[in-house]
């Protein structure tokens, strides 16, 4: 088995950064990851990177140095960062390279995402009548999930309350003010049952990782590697419930999250019960609940007790989204997947400061899911 290590991790603060381009944030994160790895850019043999709305990653060579390396632009919706990571892992496993960089960044306009039906093979009327809105998918999917598994609105508020509390402990987070359960439940209803504070906002930020094969570690004796035990990417199968679906089959097929998580755990030889700290896609409060179960980290319906007992808090049995997740960091689509990995690297190294999970966590897990039905998962270990 080829062993792949994360030898460096860097991040640009998430949030709103007037006058700073997405690419500039990406360069910042890349430099931070290189410095953390003690690897010079001139030694990097290949790179994958991308954003949804903020430009071509490969143009970063204008700042980092045009060394002639193969630099692949990646654009794969909400799994852009995960796709870069999986691609880099496969490139290293192939033996073609020993060390590479992945970078994800984004900068979205304020307000809800704006999508053109034509880009989604959908008729114009779908957008004209007001159905081309991502939050409707979140609300509708969650409404049914809560009905099927008897989940109250209180649990949704507990997810958001934890997110903002964790965000308040995270230096690079966007939302750093804790909110009470009452404030979250009482906020404006945007997509029933989701209130304003239960939905993340499109935002800005960047994250980068330096990856290497085990053999390369001799060249960077000061690096503090975290092992990437598995990285998996899956897309939807027939009959899944995805965003912008004018119709659904009577039988809903399992989400690509189920496939990606199962493949990652099997490939790593790790069981979901072994996970000490997890990052799952929390585009909204309900997504965190659904994804925990889809990834095998709990049973469907068990979330109510899990959150009531505080087991997903820092210090709980299964800390989830310890940096505040998308709810506290916002959603720069190209950056979120790598932010999750950055957070797990910080936790496994014991570098997470005030948000550090106690008990020296050994195994971490990350999960992204998004449009148009794509999921990427990783299993990491010390």
């Amino acid at each position: 088995v080829t062993e792949i290590a994360i030898v460096g991790a860097g991040i640009h603060p998430f949030g709103r950064h007037e006058g700073v381009s997405g690419l500039a944030m990406g360069v910042h994160a890349a430099r931070a990851a290189l410095a953390d790895a003690r690897v010079a850019w001139s030694d990097v043999q290949f790179a994958y990177g991308g954003s949804e709305d903020a430009g071509n990653a490969d143009t970063m060579v204008a700042d980092l140095g045009p060394t002639g390396l193969p630099f692949m632009n990646v654009k794969n919706g909400c799994a852009t960062g995960g796709s870069s990571l999986v691609s880099a892992v496969r490139a290293l496993e192939s033996g073609a390279y020993e060390v590479g960089l992945v970078v994800g960044f984004d900068k979205h306009p304020r307000g809800a995402f704006q999508n053109d039906p034509a880009d989604w093979s959908l008729p114009d009327w779908y957008g004209e009548v007001g159905l081309m809105v991502t939050t409707q998918f979140f609300g509708a999917k969650l409404q049914r999930y809560m009905h099927d598994h008897d989940i109250p609105a209180l649990t949704l508020a507990q997810v958001a309350e934890k997110a903002f509390r964790n965000g308040s402990l995270t230096p690079h987070a966007w939302r750093t003010k804790p909110l009470s359960i009452e404030e979250i439940l009482g906020a404006q209803m945007l997509a029933h049952p989701l209130t304003q504070y239960m939905l993340c906002s499109p935002g800005e930020g960047a994250a980068a990782l330096v990856l290497s094969r085990r053999e390369y570690l001799d060249r960077v004796p000061e690096a503090r590697p975290i092992w990437l035990r598995a990285a998996s990417l899956r897309t939807r199968r027939a009959g899944t419930f995805e965003v912008f679906s004018p119709s659904l089959a009577l039988e809903i097929a399992p989400s690509p999250s189920v496939d990606a998580a199962r493949e990652a755990f099997e490939s790593a030889g790790v069981a979901p019960e072994d996970v000490d700290v997890a990052q799952v896609q929390d585009t909204e409060s309900g997504a965190e609940l659904i994804h925990l179960a889809e990834c095998g980290l709990c049973e469907h319906g068990e979330q109510v007790a899990l959150y009531a007992r505080g087991e997903t808090r820092i210090g709980g049995r299964l800390p989830v989204n310890t940096d505040g997740g998308c709810l506290a960091n916002g959603e720069p689509v190209g950056a979120s997947g790598l932010r999750q990995v950055y957070e797990i690297v910080s936790q496994l190294r014991g570098d997470a400061g005030r948000r550090q999970v106690p008990g020296r966590p050994r195994i971490g897990f990350t999960h992204v899911y998004g449009a148009p039905g794509v999921s990427a998962c990783t299993v990491l270990g010390r």
Partner: protein, 103 residues
């Protein structure tokens, strides 16, 4: 599959047309509490929050559409619904109404 496609999304084969029944049940729903981004949305007068949902047509499929009822207190999963015309400006489309409300 709805809307009609040239090919079956599952197998790539040809498709036939099936007329759906007028009545079904509400499978899930949510609300649109803010005005959608335009484009692609075509505003029709001053924005008022609306609800959307999927209506299940037994033995066929579930179709997404706007609901005529926007009050969360008056919507519940499993309630009977029927297809009605929705006029917006010079366009006519469909919506789903709780049965009994339409006449």
């Amino acid at each position: 599959v709805f809307p009609l496609r040239e090919r079956c999304p599952a197998c790539g084969g040809p498709v036939g047309r099936v007329l759906l029944p007028r009545r079904g049940t509400l499978w899930t729903w949510t609300t649109q509490g803010f005005e959608p981004r335009s484009p692609p949305y075509r505003p029709d007068g001053e924005f008022e929050p609306f609800a959307v949902g999927y209506v299940e047509f037994e033995g066929h499929l579930r179709v997404e559409g706007r609901l005529t009822e926007s009050d969360p207190e008056r919507l519940r999963i499993g309630m009977p619904m029927e297809v009605v015309a929705l006029v917006r400006g010079d366009r006519v489309t469909y919506a789903f109404a709780p049965t009994g409300e339409a006449e």
